[in-house]
């Protein structure tokens, strides 16, 4: 396998994506909505001191009181409003870090192989000296990068929003926390890879992009739910268990990708092996 050719396949896919405004503008809006706009609005409300804020702070306080003691002790802040803002910023939006990249990468991945067949460019790839694994890895990287890039940029912007809106309550910038670093660096990537291994497998087998997207939605939904639950838990308790979950996810992802790579065959790129 030649990694320069893998990167060539990935680069051309990313370039096509960059040229497709109808794809990346909605996806950027999605990331902006979840990482910037909603947090900004919610944190503005929580820290505003208004009647609506008081009610929200009271409700969040009720939720926090119901948590186990060790978890509750992790919530920082001297006042109920500060504790509510901290809880909201650190805990409640954690699953967004999984949902956004999964959504973006799924959308790219569902199209990437079947799209080559639909556009007729699969014929070019099939006649090229690229190996099937090089094509697969290139497609994987091209699907992974937009989702993770959106997450990385979104994570940076989200950190900025949280610190700008809430740090005043603590006298210092406190975000990202160790749990968030663990989530972004260790847990999110394998979950995206697991979802993509399934989606690329589907994309190489179905007849149309529409079918790939429908199938991808179905197969990625359980992964999103699982990752949602796991990410919430990790933020509350970033312990060795969290690291273990990430490690298991990496193993599953690697096995899934190895299995998925076998689904991409030249005949499928030509569209003649779908029976």
């Amino acid at each position: 396998m030649r990694f320069d050719r893998v990167w060539t396949v990935a680069r051309i896919d990313l370039r096509r994506l960059f040229k497709s405004r109808d794809y990346w503008i909605p996806m950027s809006l999605l990331a902006g909505l979840f990482f910037v706009i909603i947090p900004w609005i919610m944190l503005s409300i929580v820290t505003s001191g208004s009647n609506a804020a008081s009610e929200l702070v009271r409700q969040i306080g009720g939720v926090l009181d119901a948590l186990p003691g060790p978890v509750r002790d992790n919530v920082q802040g001297a006042t109920p409003a500060a504790r509510a803002a901290y809880a909201f910023a650190v805990y409640l939006l954690a699953p967004v870090a999984i949902i956004v990249p999964l959504t973006i990468s799924s959308a790219v991945g569902a199209h990437t192989i079947v799209g080559e067949r639909e556009n007729g460019t699969g014929e070019f790839l099939a006649h090229s000296p690229l190996t099937e694994k090089e094509i697969y890895l290139g497609k994987l990287i091209a699907s992974l990068v937009p989702g993770y890039l959106a997450t990385a940029v979104g994570f940076g912007l989200y950190s900025l929003v949280v610190n700008l809106k809430v740090a005043g309550e603590f006298g210092r910038w406190f975000f990202p926390t160790s749990g968030w670093w663990l989530l972004i660096v260790w847990v999110v990537p394998p979950f995206i890879a697991i979802a993509l291994s399934v989606i690329l497998w589907v994309s190489s087998r179905v007849r149309s992009t529409a079918a790939a997207q429908q199938a991808a939605s179905l197969v990625s939904l359980p992964i999103i739910i699982a990752s949602y639950a796991i990410s919430s838990g990790l933020i509350f308790d970033p312990t060795l268990a969290a690291i273990g979950i990430g490690a298991v996810a990496w193993i599953i992802a690697i096995l899934g990708l190895m299995s998925g790579s076998r689904a991409l065959q030249r005949e499928r790129l030509l569209g003649v092996a779908i029976e």
């Binding site: 040229k19 556009n119 460019t121 000296p129 690229l130």
Partner: protein, 310 residues
């Protein structure tokens, strides 16, 4: 190390490939000498595209043997494809990218320097549009770009699958010029087409395909000698009624009006006597034109003969 070029650049023997219940190739035998131009003729569904796909190893055979440049495409497919250029029936270009991006992508895959991109585009008169998105290209421009991409790495074998379909005359000529140029440089070329006139004059070998097998193959002159045994002469006269009984003249096999009178003779030796007879009968001939055997005549005659034999 690159293996030495064998005498046969491509050979297929008893190759079978099915799609479900359809036998796309049914015992195909094909031998393409190195440095030759072979034209695969045949109607849609004859198996031409499947043959091209088997040659590069993009498709797997279900039976038989395939050798390309001495290699088995199913085993050494990557090397075969590295030394092969393909122009598919549809140009297979990335519409959202520029012509430059498309060619650079191919250059990177085949390990060709980017400096080769512009000369390749210039060769096909498409350099002026390299900055434009391919989605805005005309059919002719797209085919020219696909041709530039196919020869970017100077392949030993060039496979052209219906390369002139939908092209304007200028673009068609560019394709034929490319074939002549590459053939002159010793490259092996296989061209699939059902447009007979474009294969005229460039084919070293013609293979008539039908129902997944080669019905007849050989040099055009040999095939013409075998199948076009009765020459045709096109005739016309000032008063066409004077040609009414040509079909009954000695040495005439048949005569039919198609713009002018197309007369099929037993041999060309009978033509002087026929002319003398017609003139003696008062015909004022305005046209007597023996037809050189064309690929089109050959194709239809071969089809007719093979059907009759079945």
């Amino acid at each position: 190390m690159t293996p030495p070029m064998p005498d046969l650049a491509i050979s297929l023997s008893c190759v079978v490939r099915t799609f479900g219940s359809v036998r796309a190739l049914d015992g195909l035998d094909l031998a393409v000498p190195a440095g030759s131009v072979t034209v695969l003729l045949g109607p849609n569904g004859a198996g031409k595209t499947t043959t091209v796909r088997l040659i590069t190893g993009a498709l797997k055979r279900h039976a038989g043997t395939v050798r390309v440049l001495g290699l088995d495409p199913e085993v050494d497919g990557d090397e075969v494809r590295a030394r092969t250029g393909v122009v598919p029936p549809k140009p297979a270009l990335y519409d959202r990218l520029s012509g430059w991006d498309n060619l650079r992508f191919a250059a990177d895959i085949w390990g060709v320097a980017h400096t080769a991109v512009v000369p390749a585009a210039e060769r096909f008169g498409i350099a002026y549009a390299l900055d434009q998105e391919v989605g805005g290209y005309s059919t002719g421009m797209r085919t020219r770009l696909a041709l530039a991409r196919a020869v970017l790495h100077d392949p030993d074998v060039l496979l052209l699958d219906e390369p002139t379909a939908g092209l304007d005359p200028e673009s068609s000529r560019a394709v034929l010029d490319l074939i002549r140029e590459l053939a002159g440089r010793g490259r092996t070329i296989v061209m699939c087409t059902h447009l007979l006139h474009e294969a005229e004059g460039i084919a070293d070998q013609v293979v008539l395909m039908g129902a997944g097998s080669a019905r007849a193959a050989g040099r055009p002159a040999d095939l013409a000698a075998a199948y076009l045994t009765q020459p045709t002469v096109v005739m016309d006269a000032q008063d066409r009624t004077a040609l009414a009984d040509v079909a009954s003249q000695p040495g005439v096999v048949s005569a039919a009006w198609n713009g002018a009178l197309h007369v099929k003779l037993e041999t060309l030796d009978t033509l002087p006597d026929l002319i003398a007879t017609l003139v003696a009968q008062g015909a004022r001939l305005t046209r007597v034109e023996p037809q050189l055997p064309t690929l089109e005549h050959l194709y239809f005659e071969m089809q007719r003969t093979l059907r009759a034999a079945q």
